[in-house]
């Protein structure tokens, strides 16, 4: 005996097309296509025609005909078979009416391999209605549905009218094979199944294949005992009943129906694009047979519904796709019109969120997070971004079960069970993330999918069908709606547009920088020229004033004082101009790197500074003086300024102390110039190196506010670094780190 894997695909292995039995409401006779001799016959045939079925085996079909009705021509069945063989189709023959014991029966003929299978079933169904009449009206009703949902509900209602089953449901198979009841019409006393989901294993793969071949399927009485098919052939190859309407039902399925309390079942296949889209599933709680013509009518309804829903589904899909495409185009347009990326993506009427069916979206760009719609908190988004950076291998990533993959996300599965991310930069630091919430509807499965496997009575490892149809509700945790292909392609498209926009912006910035650089250079040249030209008239102002003072003896004291002020002003201005010239000169000069003897340089600079300022009670200490590389003149300027400041601003404290020393560290040589002077107010920290900026607490000290600006400029020219620590009335330490070449 073949050993089955014990899992949910167990049913998939069951050979349901060769059950070796038929349902007992009719009987089956199979003849060899070549000589019309009876090869197979169902045991119950005898019951209907009053002879032993076994006796007919090996006999010509005409003998069966005689046995059925001695008054009718003996050739009536063989003629049918020959006509069908000639036409290579029995479509126009089926169903053929005969009388058995003065009751009306149908014969339905189908070929099966080298056999022709004749199925006999009652022509009367226990339906009072004239099915054919009802159909025309039904079709009109069904097709009046404007959308898919009403279309399906209408169809269920019309099918119920036609065949009068207690419950008519429409199942829809989802991508993963699991089914969902999408429409239901039932008797009021029945418990609703609408919205229930069924595991994919409920209707196994090979059953779905048969549904594609036989568009209707009836199980007239679940509790009736099947009739075995017998044959005289020794090898006993089972008869293939793929096309048979009487084919007995899998015991697993029978058990399943019994568990539900269903006595009779009927189904109509719904096809879309050649695939099984779903089923119209009809349940009756007492045995019910509907005849071939009623089934054919139902099949017609199914086919009409199939083409309608194919069209409607396509229409709805297309409409959805159009909406996504329109949104993607609107966002792309925004990218061209808005100055800033975040605004373009979230501020417009159509936002980045709308290019998918997500509930929310976040844009992480330039270190900022911008959100729209329902999203996790910024902190949680940062967490997601971190996870994506570590795990994303493609430009686009998506899942509808994120909390199952990243357990920390369980804390916010309500907003982000589904995420889709696309990267905007190579290092993944810039992302757009879309969020889909957990499916809030608690989905009821028709039984626990993890129900333990039980051993069947016959020792086969069959999965026991659900013992109860009491639906238990399982919230499908940590799962959102799926991301459709349309959503993914919209994201891919928009991502390209965004990256193009970013690159364009980067290019613009680069050009702007180049232009700025040029402008700076021009400004330097301009400042230099202007300053230079200003000196001549300034010099005249001073000279004329002094000349007046010197030569004009008639001036009174007041006039003299005013002229002296003019001279003073001119001097100050001259000094400032000189400083600006010095500052712009740094910008114009190229750095020529030489090894600088720092001991000598500092000795000279400190000597000059101490000489010029001559502070009382100030001690100046020079520590280690490692040599550095730089432009001798500029570096002299740097230390002259720093030491001059240190001495100047600590010249009025009781025991001023200025210390200059250098230390070599890794790739840099860091010099510090520290003092215990007036210090810098923390509010001015950001403006220390700005041109002409002087702090309030140093108004009493001489200075122009150019010194540190020059220092900063020189340091930048050297690609060195400068920074400082300072506290009011405690002192200041300036650090300068030069690169070691």
């Amino acid at each position: 005996m073949q050993h089955f894997q014990v899992d949910l695909t167990n049913c998939d292995k069951e050979p349901i097309h060769i059950p070796g039995k038929v349902q007992p409401h009719g009987f089956l006779v199979s003849v060899s296509s070549a000589n019309l001799l009876i090869t197979y016959i169902s045991q119950n045939a005898g019951h209907f025609i009053g002879i032993n079925a076994k006796d007919l085996l090996g006999k010509h079909i005409n003998e069966l005909s005689v046995a059925i009705n001695a008054t009718a021509p003996a050739e009536q069945l063989s003629q049918l078979l020959n006509v069908g063989k000639l036409n290579k189709s029995f479509e126009n023959i089926n169903p053929f009416r005969i009388d058995i014991n003065s009751e009306a029966w149908y014969v339905i003929i189908n070929p099966s391999g080298n056999q022709l299978v004749l199925e006999f079933e009652p022509a009367e169904s226990n339906l009072a209605l004239d099915v054919q009449k009802v159909i025309g009206r039904s079709v009109t009703e069904i097709l009046s549905g404007r959308n898919l949902e009403t279309l399906l509900t209408n169809a269920a209602a019309e099918v119920k009218k036609v065949i009068a089953y207690d419950r008519v449901m429409i199942y829809r198979f989802n991508e993963d094979g699991h089914g969902e009841v999408v429409a239901e019409v039932k008797n009021d006393d029945l418990e609703p199944f609408f919205g229930l989901h069924y595991p994919a294993s409920d209707i196994p793969r090979q059953a779905r294949e048969l549904y594609k071949i036989n568009l209707t399927r009836i199980i007239a009485d679940v509790h009736a005992e099947d009739a075995p098919i017998i044959t005289f052939q020794e090898d006993g190859a089972p008869l293939d009943l793929t096309h048979s309407g009487l084919r007995a039902v899998s015991p697993i399925h029978i058990q399943y129906l019994k568990n539900m309390g269903v006595a009779s079942s009927f189904s109509i296949s719904l096809m879309a694009h050649g695939e099984l889209w779903g089923l119209v599933a009809c349940h009756n709680y007492s045995p019910r047979f509907i005849n071939y013509k009623a089934r054919d009518a139902a099949k017609l309804i199914g086919q009409l519904l199939s083409s309608a829903l194919e069209y409607r589904q396509d229409e709805e899909d297309t409409e959805k796709l159009q909406q996504l495409i329109a949104a993607a185009e609107a966002v792309s347009g925004n990218l061209k019109n808005y100055g800033n990326l975040q605004e373009a993506l979230v501020a417009g009427k159509t936002t980045i969120k709308d290019i998918t069916e997500a509930a929310g979206a976040a844009v992480i760009f330039n270190g900022a997070i911008t959100t729209i719609g329902h999203t996790p908190t910024e902190k949680q988004i940062t967490d997601i971004a971190g996870w994506l950076q570590a795990n994303m291998s493609d430009a686009i990533y998506y899942t509808n079960r994120f909390p199952e993959i990243h357990t920390a996300a369980r804390a916010y599965s309500d907003t982000a069970s589904g995420i889709m991310a696309c990267s905007l930069s190579k290092d993944l630091s810039e992302l757009i993330i879309w969020f889909k919430p957990e499916q809030l509807t608690s989905i009821s499965w028709a039984g626990k999918p993890d129900k333990p496997v039980e051993k069947g009575e016959d020792g086969l490892l069959y999965l026991n069908p659900r013992q109860s149809f009491e639906a238990w509700t399982e919230i499908v945790k940590h799962t959102s709606d799926r991301w459709s292909n349309e959503e993914v392609s919209a994201v891919v498209k928009v991502r390209e547009e965004i990256i193009y926009a970013i690159n364009r912006k980067a290019n613009e910035i680069r050009l702007l920088n180049e232009r700025l650089q040029l402008a700076y250079e021009e400004l330097d040249t301009f400042s230099y020229t202007i300053s230079h030209d200003l000196r001549t008239p300034l010099s005249s102002i001073k000279s004329y004033s002094e000349f007046l003072l010197q030569s004009n003896k008639s001036l009174d004291d007041n006039a003299r004082r005013i002229l002296e002020r003019v001279v003073n002003g001119a001097d100050k201005m001259n000094f400032l101009i000189q400083e600006i010239l010095n500052y712009t000169r740094v910008g114009r000069a190229d750095v020529k790197y030489h090894k600088i003897d720092m001991a000598a340089l500092l000795k000279e600079v400190t000597g000059e500074v101490m000489n010029a300022l001559n502070p009382p009670n100030l001690k100046l200490v020079i520590g280690d003086t490692p040599n550095i590389y730089g432009d001798q003149v500029m570096i002299t300027q740097v230390f002259t300024n720093l030491i001059n400041n240190a001495v100047k601003y600590s010249s009025r404290v009781n025991s001023g102390l200025v210390e200059v020393k250098g230390v070599v560290e890794n790739n840099e040589t860091i010099y510090t110039v520290s003092d215990n002077g007036v210090g810098i107010d923390v509010n001015y920290f950001s403006r220390v190196f700005e041109l002409f900026k002087r702090m309030d607490n140093v108004k009493d000290f001489e200075g122009t506010g150019v010194g540190l600006a020059i220092v900063k400029r020189i340091i930048e020219k050297h690609q060195a670094r400068i920074w400082f620590d300072s506290k009011l009335k405690v002192g200041t330490v300036f650090y300068v780190a030069f690169r070691n070449l």
Binding site: S539, S540, S545, F547, Q550
Partner: protein
């Protein structure tokens, strides 16, 4: 036709005026004439040469209309009669290139213009002492 003691070529009329006053302040017996462009200056020097008179000192600005100060000193040195007249540059430029060129072209000294009238007087005093007193005794 007589020659001035100081032959001053300067296009900045303000500075020229201050210079005139300063010279007068230092020594009012010293005469000074001011010429505003290089070409006129050269022509006038030729005339003086023709009349066999020459200034005791020539002061030149660097940037002059017509003929630059550097060109002018070269042309002056080409006139044998003026070959030994002291030529001093008096300018705002501190550019070392200008200083070097002026020496190569035959100037005797290079002074940057002092700032203000009082500084100019001090400057002129020391010049006067050297060129008009000591220098003469040396020669």
């Amino acid at each position: 036709m007589s020659a001035p003691d100081i032959f001053y070529v300067e296009d900045d009329t303000d500075f020229a005026f201050i210079m005139q006053q300063a010279v007068k302040e230092v020594d009012d017996k010293v005469s000074i004439s001011i010429i505003e462009n290089g070409i006129d200056a050269l022509e006038m020097l030729h005339q003086l040469t023709t009349n066999s008179v020459k200034p005791k000192l020539i002061l030149l600005d660097l940037n002059l209309p017509g003929l630059s100060g550097l060109d002018l000193v070269r042309r002056i040195r080409e006139i044998p009669y003026l070959k030994y007249v002291p030529v001093i540059f008096f300018t705002t430029s501190e550019n070392p290139k200008d200083i070097k060129a002026s020496m190569e072209f035959g100037a005797n000294a290079y002074l940057t213009k002092p700032s203000g009238y009082l500084n100019l007087i001090s400057c002129l005093r020391s010049l006067h002492d050297f060129w008009f007193t000591k220098h003469l005794t040396v020669n």
